[in-house]
C-alpha cells in the first residue's frame, strides 16, 4: 500500500492522500500493479501520437534541491506524456538561495494547488515534511541517503523485462552502499519480490546492519544473475574520511571490468556513471549493459507512479485504504 498520510488539519471524511515516500510502504501487490501499469504505458509510447490525455488538467510540481538529469527529466516527460501541466523548481535560482526553508517553499508551491509534488532533497525525510504541510500527493525522487523508490521500481521493471521473472534471481550490488539511497530502496524492493541480494565493496562502505549478505571480495559477483554497480559518490565523501585510500585503489579492487564478469552477465547502474572508476568503459558500452534500458524504464515507471498516486489505483486498493484509515 502506498503510504497514507492523514493529518488532523484535513476535514474528517476526506479521502486519504496517496504518496510514494519509501519502498518500505509498498506491498508486493503495489509493486505488481505499478509495474503492470508501466508496461501498459510502454506499449502506448510505441504509438504514433505518444501523448495520453490521462492527467489532463492536473499540475505536477518537480521540486529539485539536488542536481539531476535522469530523474528530473523523466518525471517532467512522464507528466507531459500524460498531459499534466508541469512546474519545475530548482533550489538554485529560487528563493531557497535566499534562505527560504523547505516548509515555506512547500507552502508557497502548495498555494498553487498542485496535484503532485515530486521532490528531491539532500536530507532524509524532506518528502515526509512536504506531505505534512501541503495537500499534494508527494513522490519521493530521492531524499539524502534514505530512499529513491522510483529508481527501485524502474530497476525491477528493467530486470523483469531484460532478465526474466524476478522471484529467485540473485543480484550483486557493488560499491558505495553506505551512501546509497538507491541500494536502500533496492534491498527493500528485492525483498518484496524474492530477489536475493549480495552487497560487495570496501568494508567501510558496507553497513553491517543491513539485511543482506556482504562480501569484500569482488569475485563473488560472478555468481549473480545481475551486477548492479553503484556510483562512487565523491560528493558524499568528506575529506579525510578515509572510506577508501584512493579512487585508484577502489577502481583496481572493485571496478567492474570485462574480466570480472561472466560472458552475457547483465550490468546495471543508476547513473551518472564514473567511467574508469566503478565501471570500465568497455562494460558501460557493452551490449550487456542495461544502463540506457534503465533510463527508458524510468520514463514509463514514473508515468505509472504519477497515474497511481492520482487515480488511487484499482478500486480494491482504495477501499482497503479507506478501511485502514477508518
Amino acid at each position: 500500500m502506498i503510504r497514507l498520510v492523514t493529518d488532523d488539519l484535513r476535514p474528517p471524511g476526506d479521502p486519504p492522500r496517496r504518496h510514494l515516500l519509501s519502498v518500505a510502504d509498498l506491498t508486493r501487490d503495489d509493486v505488481e500493479r505499478l509495474l503492470g501499469t508501466a508496461r501498459t504505458f510502454e506499449a502506448s509510447l510505441e504509438r504514433h501520437v505518444k501523448k495520453l490525455p490521462t492527467l489532463k488538467g492536473h499540475l505536477v510540481v518537480n521540486l529539485f534541491y539536488e542536481s539531476s538529469t535522469r530523474t528530473s527529466s523523466s518525471f517532467e516527460l512522464a507528466a507531459k506524456r500524460l498531459s499534466a501541466d508541469t512546474l519545475n523548481v530548482k533550489s538554485t535560482g529560487s528563493s531557497v538561495d535566499k534562505g527560504e526553508s523547505l516548509k515555506d517553499t512547500a507552502l508557497t508551491l502548495g498555494a498553487y494547488g498542485p496535484d503532485v509534488i515530486v521532490i528531491r532533497h539532500p536530507q532524509i525525510g524532506a518528502p515526509q515534511l512536504v506531505a505534512q504541510v501541503t495537500d499534494a500527493h508527494v513522490v519521493n525522487a530521492g531524499d539524502g541517503k534514505h530512499q529513491h523508490p522510483t529508481q527501485a521500481l524502474l530497476d525491477l521493471y528493467t530486470i523483469r523485462e531484460e532478465v526474466g521473472p524476478l522471484d529467485g534471481l540473485h543480484v550483486a550490488i557493488v560499491g558505495d552502499v553506505l551512501h546509497s539511497r538507491v541500494a536502500r530502496s533496492l534491498l527493500q524492493a528485492f525483498a518484496l519480490v524474492g530477489i536475493r541480494a549480495t552487497l560487495v565493496g570496501p568494508p567501510a562502505l558496507l553497513p553491517r546492519e543491513l539485511p543482506a549478505e556482504t562480501s569484500t571480495d569482488i569475485d563473488v559477483i560472478r555468481d549473480a544473475d545481475v551486477v548492479y554497480v553503484l556510483r562512487m559518490q565523491n560528493e558524499r565523501m568528506e575529506p579525510g574520511a578515509n572510506f577508501v585510500p584512493s579512487l585508484r585503489e577502489y577502481a583496481a579492487r572493485w571496478g567492474i571490468t570485462p574480466e570480472r564478469l561472466r560472458p552475457g552477465q547483465k550490468v546495471m547502474h543508476p547513473g551518472p556513471i564514473n567511467r574508469g572508476v566503478e565501471i570500465d568503459p568497455l562494460v558501460a558500452d557493452s551490449p550487456d549493459s542495461l544502463v540506457l534500458r534503465q533510463v527508458r524504464s524510468g520514463l514509463v515507471v514514473r508515468m505509472a507512479v504519477l497515474y497511481d498516486v492520482l487515480t488511487g489505483g484499482p478500486v480494491g486498493v482504495q477501499a482497503l485504504a479507506a478501511a485502514e484509515v477508518a
Partner: protein, 437 residues
Amino acid sequence: MLWQRELPGASLVIRGARVLDPAERLDARLEVRIDDGTIAEVAEKVDANGHRVIEAEGLVLAPAFVDSHVHLRTPGREDEETVASGTAAAAAGGYCAILAMPNTEPIVDSAATLGALVETACHEAEIPVGFLAAITRGQRGEELTEMGELADTGAVAFSDDGVPVASAGLMRRALQYASITDRPLALHCEEPTLSRGGHVHEGRVAAELGFAGYPSVAESVAVERDLALAGYESGRIHVLHLSAVESVDALRRAREAGVAASGEATPHHLVLTDDAVRSLDPNVKMNPPLRAEEDRQALLDAVRDGTIEAIATDHAPHAAHEKEVPFEAAPFGVTGLETAFASLYTHLVEPGLLPLETLLERMSAGPARIFGLDRPRVAAGARANLVLLDLDRKWTVGEQPFRSRSANSWLLGSKLSGAVRMTLAGGGLVLDSKELA
C-alpha cells in the same frame, strides 16, 4: 547555591495523602502542616491552625524533584526559554530545583556572565535554580575557565555540555584544578572523531534509513577515558546523559573500584529506542541519540541498582521553526521538564519495570546528593520542597499549552498517567491546583 525570586512562604495543611519519601524510609498516610514555607509537623493528625487545608485523598505527597540537567537558553536564546519560563515549566513538572547548563550565547565562562544570570534568577526564577559554568573558555576545549572565581560566584559544578572536552590532557588539568573548588565536573562524553556527522545510533535503523551513524563506542571510549582520568587524579565526575550499555558497564566497574563517579539517564533514553527514529520526527533527535533495546535495558538496570543515581531531563528547548525541518537539518534536543515524571511513571512504573520509590529517589535525592544540594524531604524542620502527585490521572501531552516557551517534546500527543497537582519549591507554592480546595 540556588537562587529564586522572593515568594511568600506557604502555609498549608495537606491531609489524606500517602506520604512517600524513600530516603526517609517513609510510606504512610500522614498529615503535613507547613508554616510559612517550612514543614512544621508530619503526623497522623495535625492542627489546621487556620491554614488552607488541601484534601489530598488518593494522592501521593513526595519530596519534589531535582533536575540536574536543564538548558534555560538564557542568555542568548530567550525566544526558546527564559529563566522565568523554564522554572515555571519545572514547577509544572514537580521540580523544586533545577541546574542550568552553561552552553548559552555567550557561554557562562566568566564571573560577569554568571553574576548576571544569578541576578536574573533572583528576579525571575519561580523555583530555585542553580548554574553550572563552563570547563573551558567559550567551550572551545583550549583553556580552563577561572573555576575558583566561578565557584565563588555560585557555580554549582562545571560542564562543557553540548560539546565534549576533546583533549585528554586538558581534561586532566580540569580535574586537577576543579579539586580546589570541591565541585564535580559534569561531562558530555563523546569522541568527536567517531561521532562526526552522526545523527542516529549506528545500528540497523540508521543503516536502513541511511542516516550517518553515531556509534555507541563514540560515547563509551570517552566515558572510559574520563573515568580513568578521574581515578588517576582522584577527581569527581558526573557522566551526563548516559546512553550505551558499554558506558554503563564502565561506570559500574569504576564505581566498584572506588572512582568518585556518578551518572544520569534521561527519560527519553529510558523509554525510547532508535526504533522511534523511523518516524523521521525531529523531536526524537537528541545527542546522544536513542540507542538499541539492550542499551535501554542496561540503563534501566543501572537506575534500579543505583549505578545511575540521577534521572535528568536534558530539557533542551528549540524554536518551532528550527525543528520543522528534515531530521538531519534539525538541532539535537528535546524538552522534558513538564513530562518527566508522567513519562517514567507511565512507561516504567505502571508496567512494573521500576518501583515508584526508586523513581522518586532518582528524581530527587539522587541528583541532590551528586551536586551537594539539600535533599528535599518530608520531615519537620525542612523547607517545603514537595510535590503532590495524582498517579491515576490521565492526560494528553500538548493538549494544554506548555509553560516552556518551546514545544519540542518527544511525547506530543501521548496519553500519560500521573499528573503533578501541586508543587512547593523553596517554601513557596509554585504550582497550585484550585480544585484542591
